[in-house]
């Protein structure tokens, strides 16, 4: 049994292997949904997106204000925990939804929220659009998907570090380092066309400028306080993003062309669904990315008979994920088999 580290780089030897195997830009299984039903599900409404964004921003503002008032007391710990989580974790699903452009009918609203959430999440907005396009083309295809969060064999240190965004902030900082000197990293060049380089470079530079400004502010007032509000929450508030994010694909199959085999749908309560923008319906989202987040529960109802069983909650998902990741430490070929009981009624896209 080999525990050799596999090359998950998208510009390494696995890239050509994925192409040779016909796994790149391939046809994926899609459940059959009547056109009339799909048209209703794809409809965009401004109401839910505006409401949810306002609630998020109000919570961010109030928790930030409380964190400011509690500075220097023990109360700052829960206050910053809430603020940081809303900043560093809840921003992630906003980045994602507004990046797909499905959340609302308003282009400017979509663009503004996307860029705001991208910065909070510390994802250079232009390159991440393209990264996520690739993730949707080649979901968990080794050598092509740049967003595989759980490479094998499992590295618990890497996962624990990610609870504080250490790995992702380091990776993004390197990318932005290229941007500062007017370049785009070799990995990004693999999935982003030249026409986007200029925008990407300038976005990265703006992020660097903001972070540099915050650092200068901290030095000037001899306090870490400004960074606790801008920049650091991406790291100390990351934990919930990881808790949600690992449920998406961890432990499941690689190199398959059926989202039902490499993605999870997990039942979550209303609070988690708000914080996570319904991304717990993750198979449905991957299969039909034109459906906005607020219609995913209805989409789930429409396709559930052609789906694997839903995990009844986050804890249930982790009861499967943790043993699987432990096993993948020693056996990188192991994966959770979600083969369908009835995979006959869909079609390749």
């Amino acid at each position: 049994m080999s525990t050799a580290v596999r090359d998950y780089s998208i510009i390494g030897p696995e890239s050509q292997r994925a192409k040779d195997a016909g796994l790149v830009s391939a046809d994926w299984y899609r459940c059959e949904v009547p056109r009339e039903t799909m048209k209703a599900l794809m409809k965009r409404r401004n109401g839910p997106a505006v409401r949810d964004t306002i609630i998020w921003l109000v919570l961010l503002g109030v928790s930030g204000w409380l964190a400011y008032l509690s500075w220097g007391t023990w109360w700052m710990i829960p206050a910053f925990l809430v603020y940081g989580t809303l900043y560093g974790s809840v921003s992630d699903s906003r980045w994602h939804e507004f990046g797909h452009g499905t959340a609302s009918n308003s282009k400017w609203f979509t663009t503004v929220v996307y860029h705001f959430a991208s910065f909070l999440d510390f994802r250079e907005a232009e390159s991440w659009r393209w990264s996520h396009v690739r993730h949707h083309s080649d979901t968990i295809i080794v050598g092509s998907d740049p967003e595989i969060a759980v490479p094998r064999p499992t590295s618990w240190i890497a996962h624990l570090a990610e609870f504080f965004a250490i790995r992702s902030v380091w990776a993004e900082s390197k990318k932005i380092g290229y941007n500062i000197v007017g370049k785009v990293s070799p990995t990004v060049r693999d999935y982003m066309p030249e026409s986007s380089y200029r925008r990407s470079i300038w976005t990265g530079r703006v992020y660097a400028l903001i972070i540099a400004g915050v650092v200068a502010w901290c030095i000037a007032i001899q306090s870490v306080m400004p960074a606790m509000f801008i920049g650091l929450p991406t790291m100390y508030g990351r934990w919930l993003l990881v808790v949600y994010g690992l449920t998406q694909h961890a432990g499941l199959a690689e190199n398959v062309l059926d989202h039902r085999l490499n993605t999870r749908t997990v039942r979550m309560n209303v609070v988690n669904r708000f914080l996570y923008s319904n991304m717990n319906y993750h198979i449905e989202h991957h299969m039909f990315p034109t459906v906005p987040y607020y219609s995913l529960p209805a989409l789930h109802e429409a396709v559930k008979n052609d789906m694997p069983s839903v995990y009844p909650g986050i804890a249930a998902a982790y009861r499967e994920i943790i043993p699987a990741l432990r096993r993948q430490m020693k056996d990188p070929t192991y994966f959770i088999d979600r083969s369908m009981h009835n995979a006959t009624s869909g079609s390749a896209s």
Partner: protein, 109 residues
């Protein structure tokens, strides 16, 4: 290049603000109905990843690709941003005697 007007479907064969796929010779087209009386036609596959646009979403004169949310202006074919960078080809459309016709270049013999 010679062209031909090809019968696609009845005028009511496309729902309002919807799209259908139309295959003719070696071509795949997407034929749209915008509002009650306006019809347009474009190439049927997204210029980004070649996915059939007829499975996509028609919204305010824009067609959104079902795979990566790439968007095109239906009437002009203009790409509207990431991930589409190449415009769609458009085709003249007319309605005659309740039938939707599209002008398509003849396939080379």
């Amino acid at each position: 290049m010679s062209t031909e007007w090809v019968d696609v479907c009845g005028a009511d064969g496309i729902d309002v603000d919807d799209v259908i796929r139309f295959d003719h010779g070696t071509r795949t087209l997407a034929v749209y109905r915008l509002g009650k009386d306006r019809y347009c036609a474009t190439d049927g596959r997204c210029t980004h990843a070649g996915v059939h646009l007829a499975d996509g979403f028609v919204n305010n004169g824009i067609i959104e690709c079902p795979k990566h949310n790439g968007r095109f202006d239906i009437c002009s074919g203009a790409a509207q941003g990431v991930p589409v960078t190449v415009n769609l080809r458009t085709y003249p459309v007319r309605v005659e005697q309740g039938r939707v016709l599209v002008e398509i270049p003849a396939d080379p013999k």
